[in-house]
């Protein structure tokens, strides 16, 4: 059977904030998710992940939209629908780089555990003005055993470091995304 043609991708543009991240930016509209992936009483180790998205000239991009999707502290992806008054682990979050003074992003979550032979990681989906199709990458942790992770093993060894966050304090990690240049982040094709 001939497949239907997919709807082509287009850029998220510069003005997504009042639709996708209204509360973060102070618009008079609700948000379905924000930068906190944890529930009211998080299990596991609560962590902060901060970072920037840098363009080909090394300038931080102030109109990127970042989504996190991850497993919980036991390595489980949430399967029940997210609800409005939700006190459980959400495992999905969104943040735009237009509200922090240095065009950064900031997520609050728990350290994930990953099952089935992978190292713990966070899936990252990246959108921005100037990006015609979204990009996918992963955050791994510097204090975990990453050596047997099947994805990291297939990455050019000289670029693995672009997928590993830096520790920047107790339960705090820094993960910068570089669109281009010597430190260009590894992006994946789905």
């Amino acid at each position: 059977m001939d497949k239907l043609r997919q709807t082509p991708s287009q850029t998220v543009g510069p003005f997504f904030a009042y639709g996708l991240t209204a509360r973060q930016y102070g618009y008079d509209f609700t948000s379905i998710v924000d930068n906190s992936l944890v529930g009211a009483f998080p299990m596991g180790i609560e962590i902060d992940i901060i970072g920037h998205v840098f363009d080909g000239e090394g300038k931080p991009i102030p109109d990127a939209l970042i989504e996190f999707r991850q497993a919980d502290e036991k390595g489980r992806y949430r399967s029940v629908p997210l609800e409005k008054a939700d006190s459980d682990f959400r495992g999905f979050g969104r943040f735009g780089t237009g509200t922090e003074p240095d065009a950064g992003f900031h997520f609050i979550t728990v350290k994930p555990k990953a099952l089935s032979g992978q190292a713990p990681h966070i899936n990252v989906i990246l959108f921005m003005r100037g990006s015609l199709r979204h990009l996918y990458t992963r955050i791994y942790f510097p204090d975990e055993l990453n050596i047997d992770d099947p994805i990291l093993r297939s990455v050019d060894p000289s670029r693995i470091r672009t997928l590993i966050a830096e520790s920047s304090g107790a339960n705090r990690y820094q993960f910068d995304i570089h669109m281009q240049g010597l430190n260009e982040t590894v992006f994946f094709d789905l």
């Binding site: 239907l4 082509p8 850029t11 998220v12 080909g56 994805i151």
Partner: protein, 228 residues
């Protein structure tokens, strides 16, 4: 069928759209499809969706009705085999009828509408259907090149249940004279541009109320791997 006929997506780097030059990866993406085929996206419950969230003509009223041409935009979200996808989150945002976005950084000299925000959302029903009432957005200028204008469009964000069912796109209107001048629209391969254009549906028009447009959304994996 020739694989390239399925390659509907724009390239990462499309120089006429200048912002792509410093914001697109220069190295090839790493294929990881086999390792990710079970990865999901979250499901969203009805409690997250407000009653007026899919009616942009009502969800931001302050002292009256928004100005402009009322329209209805509806369609079905499905996979590449035509299977309707239920419970998919569809979010939209757009300019008002004068071509002005509510966004604070927006500087286009056109009026804001106190009764129009331009944002909405809905979950697809069991048949994969979604529907919005809104105001037809106006064209607006942008800084890409001298005298650059965007065709009328509505931004769409779609979150399905599989990780590969994530899409951000823009919906356009038939016959827009700006198509041939717009590098964002033109970044899509010629044969696939029609897939971004909503169809006017006289038979769905609501008499004395609103014109209707159909925009179906097909989700699938991106990978350009030539074989199944």
């Amino acid at each position: 069928m020739d694989q390239t006929s399925f390659d509907v997506h724009p390239p990462h780097l499309y120089a006429p759209y200048k912002s792509t030059i410093l914001r697109s990866p220069t190295r090839p993406l790493m294929p990881v499809r086999e390792l990710l085929k079970d990865l999901t996206l979250p499901a969203f419950g009805e409690s997250l969706i407000g009653k007026l969230d899919n009616d942009l003509t009502k969800n931001a009223r302050k002292n009256g009705e928004p100005i402009g041409e009322r329209i209805k935009v509806s369609g079905v979200v499905m996979d590449e085999y035509g299977k309707p996808l239920a419970g998919v989150l569809v979010e939209i945002w757009q300019a008002n009828s004068a071509g002005r976005y509510v966004h604070k950084e927006e500087i286009h000299d056109a009026p804001l509408d106190p009764n129009f925000l331009g944002a909405g959302r809905i979950l697809t029903d069991r048949e994969g259907r979604y529907s919005f009432y809104t105001i037809k957005p106006g064209a607006y200028p942008w800084g890409n090149h001298f005298n650059a204008w965007r065709p009328n469009h509505i931004h769409f964000s779609v979150v399905g249940h599989q990780f590969e069912h994530r899409l951000v796109t823009q919906m356009y209107f038939q016959g827009d004279p700006l198509f041939e001048y717009d590098p964002i629209f033109q970044s899509v391969p010629v044969h696939a541009r029609e897939l971004l254009i909503a169809k006017f549906r006289m038979d769905w028009t609501e008499p004395e109320f609103a014109l209707a447009y159909e925009f179906n959304i097909i989700l699938g994996r991106r990978s350009s791997t030539p074989f199944e």
